[in-house]
Structures are given as C-alpha cells and as structure tokens.
C-alpha cells in the first residue's frame, strides 16, 4: 500500500473497507477547513439545508477551522454583507473565525499545526494538494460539505499514485518555482489527471519546506487529486514544534507499484515563464524577455512564503519599481509577514515602491488588491494564469518571485540573473 492509501484507511468509517485506486471510501477527516466566502446566499442555503435535515449541533465542530483569505478584508459592500453572513454562521456554531489578515488556508493550516504527517484534511479549495508537502492526505473536497457538516463523514475517491523523481542541482538565480513550472510545462494540464503525485528524488530531498509547498501546490495545475512528499527530517523539524496533536508518519510499502514513474533532471534549467493563458504554456524566460508589463504580483499559496519574499527583496534591494508598473506583494500568511519584517525584507520592498498588503490570497483570484483591466499585462508568481483569472480581458505571465521582481524593476519581462545581487 502507498502511504496515502494508509492515511485514507486509517480514517475510514469501515476499517475493513478496501482502500484501492478507484474505490470510494467513507471517512472522517482530522481537520475540516471552511473559508469565509463573499456570497451570503451560499451559507444561507447551507443553514436552511441543515435546519431541514434537523441538524443543530455540528458533529465535527471541534475540528472545523474557519479561515478568511479570499477578498480579505472586504473590498466592497456586497462582499462585506456576504462575509458577515458566513462569520455569523461560524460564531453561532461556536467556531472561531481567523481574522482577514491571518493568511491563506494552505499556509496557515500547516503553520498552525492543524495539518501534518498522516492527517486527513478536507477543504474545498483547488490548491489543497499544497499541504501534501508535510505528508498529509490533502485532496480538494469536491462535494461533501453538507455531509461533513451534517454527519461528520464524507466520501473519498481513492486515487492511483504516480512518482515524479527530480534530480540535479539548480543554477544560481533559478528557483523552486521555476522547477515546478518546468514540470507543469513538461507533463501538461492533464499530466496527472485524477491521480496523486508523489514527489521524490535527490532534488526534493534537498528542498526546504517552503519550496516543497511550492512544488506540491503545482499538483493542482496538472490535474492531480493530491500531492505528496514522504516526510523526512526536514519535515519533522518543521512540523513538530507546531503540532497541535500527535502526527503519524506513514510509509509506502516496498512492494507498492506506482501507476507511473517519471524522471526529471533539473540541472541546466533556465528561469521559466508560463505564457497566457495556461500554466503549462511554459518557455524559458529568454523567449519572452522585453514584453512590457503593467503589473507585477508576488504572493499566493504557490509563492507567498518567506523564501519567495527573500528572493524578491534580494533583487529589489536599493532599486526602484519601474514608474509604469504596480508591484504588489501579498505575503501568504502573518507568520511570513512577521518574519519578513524582522529580516528587513519588507522595508526593502517599501523602499523600492512596492505595494505590500496584508496576508491573504491577494489579486490571484481577481477579488481585490490588484484586479487587472482588459488589455493589462501582468507578470505574477500566483497559482495560475487562466484567461480572466486576475481580471477579464487581461494577460498573465507566470514567473518565479525573482523573475517578477526583476521584471517590475525593468518594466518588461526580465531575466533575474542579470539583476542578481549578493
């Protein structure tokens, strides 16, 4: 059995239920995370359904985490009215609601020790696979919200598992995000459709936790149900001081057969850029250098961590953002923001005329803090560059935080290696 299958089995209602690819298993998660949304009609419908079903007390109340990361705090009256209804629902149920500066769910759940090795987490957000970086089973909840609220159980579709082995060493100025974009471009948007992807190999073993999250985040853009990295000492050093409960590391049996194994050599990789309008539309930065930009964005659950802000500050130190460009920096979580402040990165960003916001999803989903106008061109290290993603009619190029920072300075897509500083 694969470790992911063991995690599902350990949470199954029926402990004898076969957990094999293709099966659907009823399970209870350790953590059920729900976001404060903007549409009040949606939570009113859920409340009406619960009343109709005769559910007063939520069976998972103590393991529900209410976060607040999209359009946080409210950017306009209609969103405020909708969000208020969601907050009132949680308060009525006695569930604490994270404040709208706390950060993105996929960052704060592991940071705050809710999600770690062996945890089954339920969360209806496509980038939930990000948390597989700590050895959790983190698949996007797809339907099942009402079931979890009403009966505390939901259905888990058991995926096949493929193994991506990454080896080699990166050249200076090339970052983990470049690796994830390169893999995305190689396998495509349907490269891992409906399967879980385990990332392994010498490169992954050498990676920091920040870049492991970045790699696992990309699983979503290749269609993966979940991403996974087998916990090692790096994982344990990061999760143990944060743990709210005892975590359990599951190991994959030596005789487990992966549905597919692919090898990637990342040596010699150039900085990557994904052209509009798909994250797998990747080319080396040299092919798009010089394209004039209106906006640059650093943040999101893909690349809004301390290492990302550190790389951006390294490029921006002592320089200014091009006068025709808006550079928006949205830290992924308050923990990231506090540590980046302590290290002086935030001051560097302010001195460079970057716009630094509170921690949240930022402009990644065209909800606030940097919505693009039709015809605008952006370079961004957010999650995806679908048409309309950051505003209808705009074009998004994806790059690493270093590429975004370099481009913000030059006003055009730029190779960060030219602007490297110590």
């Amino acid at each position: 059995m694969h470790a992911l299958h063991k995690i599902i089995a350990a949470h199954a209602t029926d402990s004898t239920a076969p957990v094999r690819p293709g099966a659907i298993v009823e399970a209870t998660p350790d953590v059920f995370a729900i976001g404060v949304e903007r549409n009040g009609d949606e939570i009113e419908a859920i409340e009406a359904d619960l009343t109709e079903l005769g559910v007063d007390e939520l069976p998972l109340k103590d393991r529900i985490v209410a976060f607040f990361d999209h359009a946080a705090p409210a950017p306009f009256p209609a969103a405020a009215i909708g969000q208020k209804k969601w907050i009132q629902f949680f308060r009525k149920q006695g569930i604490p609601v994270a404040d709208p500066g706390s950060g993105v769910s996929h960052l704060i759940l592991p940071e705050q020790g809710w999600v770690g090795p062996g945890v089954l987490v339920a969360l209806n957000d496509s980038h939930t696979p990000t948390m597989g970086a700590v050895g959790a089973y983190a698949a996007c909840l797809a339907g099942g919200t009402l079931s979890l609220l009403a009966i505390g159980r939901y259905w888990v579709d058991v995926p096949d598992v493929v193994l991506y082995r990454l080896s080699g060493a990166l050249q200076p100025g090339v970052l983990g995000r470049d690796v994830s974009m390169s893999v995305n471009g190689t396998v495509g948007q349907r490269g891992a459709l409906g399967v879980a992807v385990e990332f392994g190999g010498s490169y992954v073993e050498s990676l920091s936790m920040d870049m492991r999250f970045t790699l696992c985040n990309m699983g979503t853009e290749i269609g993966a149900t979940a991403s996974y990295i087998q916990p090692d000492q790096t994982t344990l050093d990061w999760v143990m001081p944060r743990a709210r409960s005892e975590f359990r590391v599951y190991e994959t049996d030596p005789d487990f057969t992966y549905a597919d194994v692919r090898d990637f050599d990342i040596s010699g990789l150039e900085p990557q850029v994904a052209k509009p309008h798909a994250p797998d539309n990747t080319v080396p930065v040299s092919e798009v250098e010089g394209i004039v930009i209106d906006q640059a964005f650093i943040g999101s659950c893909a690349s809004g961590r301390l290492e990302d802000l550190t790389e951006a500050a390294r490029i921006l130190r002592g320089r200014k953002v091009h006068p025709d460009v808006r550079l928006i920096v949205t830290p992924g979580s308050r923990e990231v923001l506090i540590e980046a402040t302590r290290r002086g990165h935030i001051e560097v960003l302010h001195e460079a005329n970057a716009i630094v916001t509170n921690a949240n999803c930022g402009s990644c989903a065209a909800l606030h803090e940097g919505v693009l106008a039709p015809g605008d061109v952006a370079i961004s290290c957010n999650t995806r560059n679908f048409a309309g993603r950051m505003g209808p009619g705009a074009s998004i190029y994806l790059g690493s935080p270093a590429t975004v920072a370099a481009s913000a300075i030059e006003g055009r897509i730029a190779d960060p290696r030219r602007l490297a500083q110590a």
Partner: protein, 167 residues
C-alpha cells in the same frame, strides 16, 4: 431522472476551467446574475439561449482549475447534464452534490453536433442522438454517484442517511 433529453451545446475545447464557467469577479452576486456570464468568453449567446433540459458537451478536463461552485451556474440555467471527454474531479464532485450529472465520455465531441437533440441515460450511460440514433457510451459512474443522482443530490441523500440512523 434516469433519462435526460435536450439540445446539445458543444464546447469542443479541452481544459475549460471554472474561471470561464463561474467568474470570480461576479461571485458576490445572486446566482441568477452570475449565471448570465456563464461560459461567455467561449459563447456569448450561451447563457441567454440555453433552455432547461439542455446538455453541455465539452472536451477533455472540463471544469478544471478552481473548486468554486461552478455547477451552480449550469443548474441555474437549467442545464440537465454535462457530458465531456473527461471531467475534472473537483467539478464532478461539486456537480454530484448539486444533483447535476457530469459524465466522462471519450468520443462525444466528435460524435455530436451543435443543435443535436440528445438523450442521456444515466443508468446505462449511453448518449444517443434522438433523430438518427448515433450513440456513444460514457464511462460508467461509480455506484455511489448513481445512487446520489437518484436522490437528486447530497441533501436528499443525507436525508435518507439521517432517517435510517434515527429510525
């Protein structure tokens, strides 16, 4: 509810994502307003012309991207089923919860033409053109999904679970 008949709307593109089905910039609005923009970048006439009972036919990986409740727009417009070359699992699960069948059916885009009248048989999975009988078999739904569709979605399914538990 085991058989659906309606006009076919063909979106042959692969990787139609939920940013195209359910635009985030309108996500605070009542669903009736949001649905007016459903798939507008691919076919500006779709939302105003689609009729209750119609079937959306699409390419591979339909509904990929964000896990937002994009099925609500299609339900609001009266779409009775989605039949795609393949369906993203997030969209599939959300749609199932709302009682909207989303079938994976390799070959469907080639087999059907815009304006065809199609029948979707949810029990045996066959998609048939009503006038000349052309047909394609979809990949069978898991028993669990078929059961939930018979209930019409997650709420009625839960009512049955809770009734059984309480009695």
């Amino acid at each position: 509810m085991s058989t659906i008949e309606g006009r076919a709307w063909i979106f042959p593109q692969d990787d139609i994502n939920t940013d195209q089905i359910h635009l985030s910039v309108y996500s605070h609005l009542p669903i009736a307003e949001q649905a007016k923009h459903c798939l507008e970048t691919l076919d500006p006439t779709f939302a105003s012309s689609v009729a209750p009972g119609d079937v959306v036919i699409a390419g591979r990986n339909f509904g990929c991207g964000s896990a937002r409740p994009a099925h609500l727009d299609l339900l609001e417009l009266g779409v009775a089923a989605v039949v795609a070359e393949s369906v993203d699992r997030k969209f599939f699960g959300n749609a199932l919860s709302g009682g909207l069948p989303a079938l994976s059916c390799p070959g469907i885009v080639q087999a059907m033409r815009p304006g065809d009248r199609v029948r979707v048989d949810l029990e045996d999975g066959r998609i048939t053109e009503l006038r000349d009988g052309r047909s394609v078999m979809s990949i069978p739904l898991p028993d669990f999904a078929r059961a939930m569709l018979r209930f019409g979605g997650e709420k009625e399914y839960l009512r049955s679970v809770l009734t059984a538990t309480r009695s």
